[in-house]
C-alpha cells in the first residue's frame, strides 16, 4: 500500500493565486481513488476538468479527500457500489410505500453519450426526486422526429409549457433519468441513448419507435424544483 499523500498546501495557499486549478486537479487525479474522482467529476483531461470545475469545488474536493481518506488503492469499486446501495435501501425504507422501484445497479457503464450544446450554470444540478422542466426533441437514427414539445411553426398544436417530471426515479426511460442528473440548469445537450436504456427490444409502436432503436434527444433543462 502506498503511503498516504501529505497535504502540500494550506487553506490560504489553496484560495490564493499561488495554486492554480490545474495543480489541484493534477494532485487529485494522482492521489484520489477512481470512484472518488468519478463522484466529484474530476476524471479526464485536466484542461477539460479545469474548464468545468470551479476553484471552490476543487478546494472542497481536496479537503474531502483528506477527511475521507479515499486515496488511490484504498477503495475497491465494489465497496463503493455497496455504499451506494446501502444508502439507497435506507432512503427507500423511509419513504412511503407507493414509489416506483429504483434502478438498483449503478455500476453499469452508461449506455448513452452526451454532448453539451450550451453550458448550464454548472451549479444547480437536479437530485433524484427533484422535478425538472425540459424542452426536448427526440429523433431516430434516420432523423425522423418522433416526439417534441418545442413549439414549432408546424400546424401541430403543442402546449406552451415544458415537460415536467420527477427525475431519477424510473418514471422516464433510463437514458433520460441518468443523463438529466448530469445536466445543470440552463444546459442544452444532445443525448444519444442506446436502445437498452431507451425502449429496448419492444420499441414503442405508437410513438413510431421501432425495436432496438437508438434514440437521439436534444434536451434543454430549463428549471429544477
Amino acid at each position: 500500500m502506498a503511503a498516504e499523500p501529505a497535504r502540500q498546501w494550506t487553506e490560504e495557499q489553496l484560495k490564493s493565486e499561488e495554486v492554480a486549478k490545474k495543480d489541484i486537479i493534477q494532485f487529485l487525479q494522482q492521489s484520489a481513488s477512481e470512484p472518488f474522482l468519478g463522484e466529484h467529476k474530476l476524471m479526464g483531461n485536466i484542461k477539460n476538468v479545469a474548464k468545468t470545475a470551479k476553484k471552490e469545488q476543487l478546494i472542497v474536493a481536496y479537503n474531502q479527500l483528506f477527511e475521507t481518506k479515499r486515496f488511490r488503492g484504498t477503495e475497491s469499486v465494489e465497496k463503493v457500489a455497496q455504499q451506494l446501495k446501502d444508502v439507497k435501501l435506507g432512503a427507500g425504507q423511509d419513504k412511503a410505500k407507493a414509489k416506483i422501484p429504483e434502478v438498483t445497479s449503478n455500476e453499469e457503464p452508461p449506455k448513452y453519450t452526451k454532448s453539451v450544446l450550451q453550458k448550464g450554470d454548472k451549479t444547480n444540478f437536479p437530485k433524484k426526486g427533484d422535478t425538472v422542466h425540459c424542452w426536448y426533441t427526440g429523433t431516430l437514427e434516420d432523423g425522423t422526429v418522433f416526439d417534441t414539445n418545442v413549439a414549432s411553426s408546424s400546424k401541430k398544436k403543442k402546449s406552451v409549457k415544458p415537460l415536467s417530471f420527477k427525475v431519477g426515479i424510473g418514471k422516464v426511460i433510463r437514458g433520460w433519468d441518468e443523463a438529466l442528473l448530469t445536466m445543470s440548469k440552463g444546459e442544452k445537450a444532445r443525448l444519444q441513448i442506446e436502445s437498452d436504456w431507451g425502449y429496448g427490444k419492444k420499441g414503442k409502436p405508437e410513438a413510431k419507435i421501432p425495436p432496438n432503436a437508438q434514440l437521439i434527444f436534444e434536451v434543454e433543462l430549463v428549471d429544477i424544483e
Partner: protein, 606 residues
C-alpha cells in the same frame, strides 16, 4: 280567426311597458301563434313579427313562439316551403328577442323531446341556441353549462351504435348530433383558448369549467360504450371516432395537459384522505372519463402525437393500471373489452422478465390479475374469456423471478377456481424447469424458497374428502408437477427440497389414493344401479328432484344413457389420476426402500 286574435294581442300591448303585460297576454300570444301556424299562416305570421312597429313586442314576447314553431317544424309531412317559413320565424325571433327567456324556451323544447324527436329537436335548435348564448353577457358560462347538461342528458337516452351495421346507419342520429354539438361549442372553446393564451380574463375560468365538464361527460357517454375501431370501409366524418378526436383537440385547446391528466388518478390514489376534497376532485376528472381517454390515446392512438414518448414502460403500466382496473371491473362488453385492450397495449412495451417484483407492492398491480381471473371464469362472452387468459399469462411472463414467485403464492391463496389453480401450477412447473437448467441459478424456484409453494400445491384441499372431479384440473396439474420433480430432481441432489422430508406422501398421495378408491367405488355403484334400473323397463314415477332451465327454456331430462356416459367419464378421470399416481409410486419405491435401509444401517451402527 287566430290571426285576428293575434293581431289584437299585439295591438293591445303595443306601446305598453313590459311590466304591464298580463299573464294572459303571454298565453294568448302563444296559443294564437300556434293556431296560426297550424292553420297555415306561417308567412303572414312572419310578416307580422318582422314588422318594425311590433319590434318591442317581439323582443319581450317572441320567445313564446319557440314551442309552436318547433312542433310545426318537426312535423313529418311538412312542405319544405312552409318549414322554411317556420325556420325564418325562429331565426328572426332568436335574433331580436331577449336571450334570457329565449334560452329557457329553447332548453324547454330540447328537454321535452322524446323518442325520435330527440335528435331532430337538437339538430334543429343547436344553431339558434348558439346564437342566443353568444349574445349573453352575464351568466354566459352558467347558461352554456346548463345547455350542455340538458343536451347531454337527452342524448344519453339514445342507444350507442356498436356493430358495423349500426355505426353505418346511425338510426338514432347520435353520431350526427355529436358532430353538431362539436360545432356548437366551438366558439366557446375558442374563447377559452384565447383567454388561456393571454392569461387574462378570470371569468373565462367558469366557462372553461363548464366546457371541461362536458368533455369529461362525453368521454364517458357515448365514447366509453362506443365501438371506436376504424371501419374498414370509408364512411363520412360522422363517426364517433371523429367526435373523440375533436373532444381531444378541445381539451388541448383549453390548456389541459395530456400527461397531467393521465397521471391524475395515480396521484389521487396516493394522497391521504386528508389531502383530498372528495367532492371536488373526483367530480372534475372522473375515473371513467380518464379511463376512456387512456383508451383513446393508447389503443386507438387518437391524439397520441400530443403525448410525450418518454415514460418508462413500467411507469406507463403503473398509471394506466388505475384505468384498467376501472374498466375490467365492468360487465358491459364494450367497456370490458376496452380495458383488456388497454392492458394488452401497456404490456407490449415491457420485455419479459423485466418487471421488478417491487411493483407488486403497488396498488392494483396485484389486484389486476385477480380481476382477470374473474373475467376468465365468470364472463359469459367467450372471446373475452380467452383474451383475459392470454393477458394473464403475458402478465405473469413480464415479472422477474421474485415477482413470479410472489404472484404465484398470492394467486394460489386467493383463487378457489380449480382451473386457475391448475394453470398456475403449470406455470410453476415451467419455472422450476427453468431454474433447474444448468447455469440458471434462480433461487426462487429451487432450494428452500420453493418449499412453501410445494406445500401448497402438493396437497389436497380437503384431504381425502376433496371432490376429485371438481378439483381435477388442479389435481392433475399437481400430479404432473410431482411426477416431473421425481424424475428431474435426483434424490442425492435434491435441488428442489422434494426429498427432504417427503411430506407430500402424507399430504397428497395417501389421501388421493383413499379419495380415488372411495370415489371410484361410489361411481361404479351408481352405474350398476342405473343399469339395473334400466332393465326394469317400467320405471314409473321417477321423481324429478330438480329441473334445469337455460335461457328460459327448460332442459329436457337426461336419458339414462346420457347419465351413464357422465358417470363413465368420471371414472375415466379417476383412471387417469390413478395411472399418474401409480407411475409416481413406481418411481419412488426404490428410493424409499433405500432410505429405509440406510436408516436401518444407521440405527444398527449407533
Amino acid at each position: 280567426m287566430a290571426l285576428e286574435e293575434l293581431q289584437g294581442v299585439i295591438e293591445r300591448c303595443r306601446g305598453l311597458p313590459e311590466t304591464e303585460f298580463k299573464e294572459e297576454d303571454h298565453s294568448i300570444f302563444q296559443t294564437t301563434a300556434c293556431q296560426c301556424l297550424e292553420e297555415g299562416h306561417a308567412a303572414k305570421l312572419l310578416e307580422i313579427l318582422q314588422d318594425e312597429k311590433n319590434k318591442d313586442f317581439v323582443i319581450c314576447m317572441g320567445w313564446n313562439c319557440v314551442g309552436p314553431i318547433v312542433s310545426c317544424a318537426l312535423k313529418d309531412e311538412q312542405e319544405p316551403e312552409y318549414r322554411e317559413n317556420c325556420l325564418k320565424i325562429l331565426d328572426h325571433v332568436v335574433q331580436i328577442s331577449n336571450p334570457k327567456e329565449l334560452l329557457v324556451g329553447l332548453l324547454e323544447q330540447i328537454e321535452e323531446a322524446f323518442g325520435n324527436n330527440i335528435s331532430k329537436t337538437i339538430l334543429l335548435l343547436l344553431q339558434p341556441l348558439q346564437t342566443v348564448l353568444l349574445k349573453m353577457k352575464h351568466k354566459k358560462a352558467y347558461s352554456v353549462g346548463l345547455s350542455l347538461a340538458t343536451i347531454q342528458s337527452q342524448l344519453s337516452q339514445l342507444p350507442v351504435p356498436y356493430t358495423t351495421e349500426q355505426r353505418k346507419q346511425d338510426d338514432y342520429e347520435l353520431c350526427k348530433c355529436c358532430m353538431a354539438v362539436i360545432s356548437f361549442i366551438k366558439p366557446f372553446v375558442d374563447e377559452v383558448n384565447r383567454a388561456t393564451k393571454s392569461k387574462q380574463n378570470p371569468s373565462c375560468n367558469e366557462l372553461k369549467e363548464e366546457l371541461l365538464k362536458f368533455c369529461m361527460k362525453s368521454l364517458e357517454y357515448p365514447l366509453l360504450t362506443a365501438q371506436l375501431h376504424p371501419l374498414t370501409e370509408e364512411i363520412e366524418d360522422n363517426s364517433l371516432r371523429t367526435f373523440a378526436t375533436e373532444i381531444l383537440v378541445y381539451l388541448l385547446a383549453m390548456g389541459e395537459s395530456l400527461p397531467v391528466l393521465m397521471v391524475h388518478q395515480l396521484l389521487q390514489s396516493r394522497k391521504t384522505l386528508r389531502e383530498i376534497d372528495p367532492l371536488k376532485e373526483d367530480v372534475k376528472y372522473p375515473t371513467n372519463s380518464l379511463a376512456s381517454l387512456a383508451y383513446l390515446l393508447f389503443v386507438q392512438h387518437i391524439g397520441i402525437d400530443q403525448f410525450p414518448a418518454l415514460y418508462s414502460p413500467g411507469y406507463f403500466l403503473l398509471f394506466n393500471m388505475e384505468y384498467i382496473a376501472a374498466l375490467i371491473s365492468r360487465t358491459e362488453e364494450s367497456v370490458l373489452s376496452k380495458g383488456l385492450e388497454l392492458f394488452e397495449h401497456c404490456l407490449l412495451t415491457i420485455e419479459d422478465n423485466n418487471l421488478s417484483h417491487k411493483y407488486l407492492e403497488m396498488k392494483n398491480i396485484l389486484g389486476i390479475p385477480q380481476d382477470l381471473v374473474k373475467v376468465m371464469t365468470l364472463c359469459p362472452i367467450e372471446h373475452l374469456r380467452k383474451s383475459s387468459l392470454k393477458l394473464f399469462q403475458q402478465y405473469i411472463d413480464k415479472f422477474d423471478s421474485e415477482g413470479k414467485y410472489k404472484l404465484f403464492r398470492c394467486l394460489l391463496k386467493t383463487t378457489q377456481h380449480a382451473g386457475v389453480q391448475g394453470y398456475i401450477i403449470q406455470n410453476l412447473k415451467n419455472q422450476v424447469d427453468l431454474a433447474l437448467k444448468p447455469g440458471n441459478k434462480i433461487m426462487w424456484f429451487s432450494g428452500p424458497q420453493l418449499m412453501p409453494l410445494l406445500h401448497t400445491v402438493l396437497s389436497l384441499p380437503e384431504g381425502a374428502e376433496t371432490d376429485l372431479l371438481q378439483n381435477s384440473d388442479r389435481i392433475m396439474a399437481s400430479l404432473n408437477l410431482l411426477r416431473y420433480l421425481v424424475i428431474r430432481d435426483n434424490e442425492w441432489e435434491n435441488q428442489t427440497g422434494l426429498w427432504t422430508d417427503l411430506f407430500w406422501i402424507e399430504s397428497f398421495l395417501k389421501p388421493l389414493r383413499t379419495g380415488l378408491n372411495m370415489s371410484r367405488a361410489h361411481y361404479e355403484a351408481e352405474m350398476r344401479a342405473k343399469r339395473e334400473n334400466r332393465k326394469i323397463k317400467e320405471a314409473p314415477n321417477r321423481e324429478t328432484q330438480c329441473s334445469l332451465t337455460v335461457g328460459g327454456k327448460k332442459l329436457p331430462k337426461m336419458t339414462t344413457a346420457m347419465e351413464l356416459e357422465v358417470l363413465q367419464s368420471a371414472i375415466y378421470t379417476f383412471d387417469v389420476m390413478e395411472s399418474v399416481q401409480a407411475r409416481i409410486e413406481e418411481l419412488i419405491e426404490p428410493k424409499i426402500k433405500s432410505r429405509a435401509e440406510d436408516k436401518n444401517v444407521a440405527n444398527e451402527a449407533s
